[in-house]
């Protein structure tokens, strides 16, 4: 079981939020910009000071170190960042099969980061995240810069990963079509707080 439980989470304009994401469940989040979607994911990854409690598998976040927590509950930011020169330096384990699912040739590892397009960065960031085998995925618009073909490929990769590992998924998306394809539940940020919406 890889259930993610959020209790009374908030800071600044955010929350308090109570939410449980079941093992293997995909919950989509949407709302106008500035409504707190990114703030919420950052708080769950423990990147900003905030209040509230979060549990994974019944184990409370504060009982483990922050890096341990982030390796389990991993955030994929809207804009990925790269610090070394080549793609390979950002990957510990390299499963060639996964690279192929997102349309990359095997030589992608030797590519220069500076020559990647925005879409390539986004696909590689997703692969980098999954290569670290997190137990819960916090995805901030993971396909925002992808064309429809690559969007489908990325959705398929994430779905396959979730099915295999029973990871809990929180997915920020603006596209109703995407939500209807991937979501088990849909939550919308309203002025009154997070509201459950019927799936489109």
């Amino acid at each position: 079981m890889r259930k993610l439980v959020i209790q009374d989470l908030g800071y600044l304009s955010l929350g308090p939020i109570d939410l449980a994401v079941d093992s293997g469940e995909c919950v989509c989040l949407s709302g106008p910009s500035g409504s707190g979607k990114t703030l919420m994911l950052r708080a769950l990854a423990d990147l900003d000071p905030h209040y509230g409690r979060v549990f994974l598998d019944g184990q409370e976040r504060c009982t483990m170190s922050a890096p341990d927590w982030r390796r389990k509950v991993m955030l994929l930011p809207a804009e990925s960042q790269w610090w070394a020169e080549t793609v390979a330096e950002h990957f510990d384990s390299r499963d060639a099969k996964d690279f192929a699912t997102l349309g990359f040739e095997p030589d992608v590892l030797s590519w220069q980061i500076s020559r990647l397009s925005t879409g390539e960065r986004q696909r590689l960031a997703l692969l980098r995240m999954l290569s670290l085998s997190p137990a819960a995925l916090l995805l901030d618009e993971p396909t925002a810069n992808l064309d429809s073909e690559n969007t489908k490929r990325a959705e398929k990769l994430i779905a396959g990963y979730t099915k295999r590992t029973q990871a809990a998924v929180l997915w920020v998306s603006h596209s109703r079509e995407q939500i209807s394809r991937v979501a088990d539940r849909w939550l919308h940020f309203e002025p009154a707080g997070l509201q459950e919406a019927p799936l489109p």
Binding site: A45, D46, L47, D48, P49, S65, A66, P67, D68, R70, R71, M74, L75, L76, P77, E79, S80, Q81, W82, W83, R128, M129, L132
Partner: protein
């Protein structure tokens, strides 16, 4: 020793050169006149005062006075480190980092040198202790302020990269390792350059002073080599310590990047 004593009119002539530079800056609208005037005035006042203090100190050798002067020098150097930061730690943290790092490195190296290498009697003989500490503090201060400025500026500019590394489960040490390494290097460059150029491109100030004051060049050279090594060690250890402490301050216990602890200098 055959020292040719400088008269006040000699200094006044030299001051005329600075005045000329000030006038030129005014004509060219460089906006430096005020800065030149204040800096020149500070040099005269501060050095005259320290001359008086040293004169008194040299005739009344007392550990308490030496320590007191040393503490004042350390506080002034720490203030200067903070003043040179474009982004400063809020509160007294920046001052504390500078003071503790300089205390550790400069004071340790000075005391070690005085007790074992120079072996003056008593070891705190102000004629050796104060100039030695001054040289070390001045250089360590430069290294630390350059390095800290590089660290905080880079952390600010590369916040997204640092946080990305944290998101992937890296520790705060891993997430800032590249920036930390670059910062220490930045702090060490001036003294490494000075060592490499010493004697070929430039005659170091202390050695020049000693030779002008009539010391045999061979003696002056030996002292200069000693000082260079001490400065390198002092700057290196001081910079490493300051960067280690500052990098720690940029994160909290939960390995979050806390740039809210920095504020932009006015």
């Amino acid at each position: 020793m055959n020292v040719i004593s400088l008269s006040n009119s000699d200094l006044a002539l030299a001051a005329l050169l600075v005045v000329a530079l000030g006038l030129l800056s005014m004509r060219m609208r460089l906006g430096l006149f005020k800065q030149i005037a204040i800096a020149a005035l500070r040099t005269v006042v501060q050095l005259s005062l320290i001359g008086l203090v040293l004169k008194v100190l040299f005739t009344h050798v007392d550990l308490v006075w030496v320590v007191l002067i040393a503490v004042v020098m350390l506080a002034a150097a720490s203030r200067e480190v903070v003043a040179r930061q474009q982004r400063r730690f809020t509160g007294l943290a920046g001052f504390g980092v500078g003071a503790s790092s300089m205390f550790l490195s400069s004071f340790a190296v000075t005391v070690l040198t005085l007790t074992t290498l120079i072996a003056a009697d008593p070891w705190y003989e102000p004629q050796y202790a104060i100039p030695l500490l001054g040289m070390l503090l001045g250089n360590t201060m430069n290294g630390i302020s350059l390095a800290m400025n590089h660290l905080t500026q880079s952390a600010w500019q590369q916040r997204a990269v640092i946080e990305q590394r944290l998101m992937l489960g890296q520790t705060r040490e891993q997430a800032i390792s590249d920036i930390r390494r670059e910062s220490v290097r930045t702090g060490m460059i001036p003294i490494l350059n000075a060592m490499a150029a010493a004697g070929i491109v430039s005659l170091p100030g202390m050695m020049t002073g000693q030779i002008l004051a009539g010391s045999p060049p061979a003696e002056a050279v030996k002292y200069q080599i000693l000082i260079m090594f001490l400065i390198t060690a002092g700057t290196g250890f001081g910079t490493v310590s300051a960067i280690w402490l500052s990098a720690r301050l940029l994160f909290d216990q939960r390995h979050r990047l806390r740039l809210d602890r920095l504020k932009k200098a006015a």
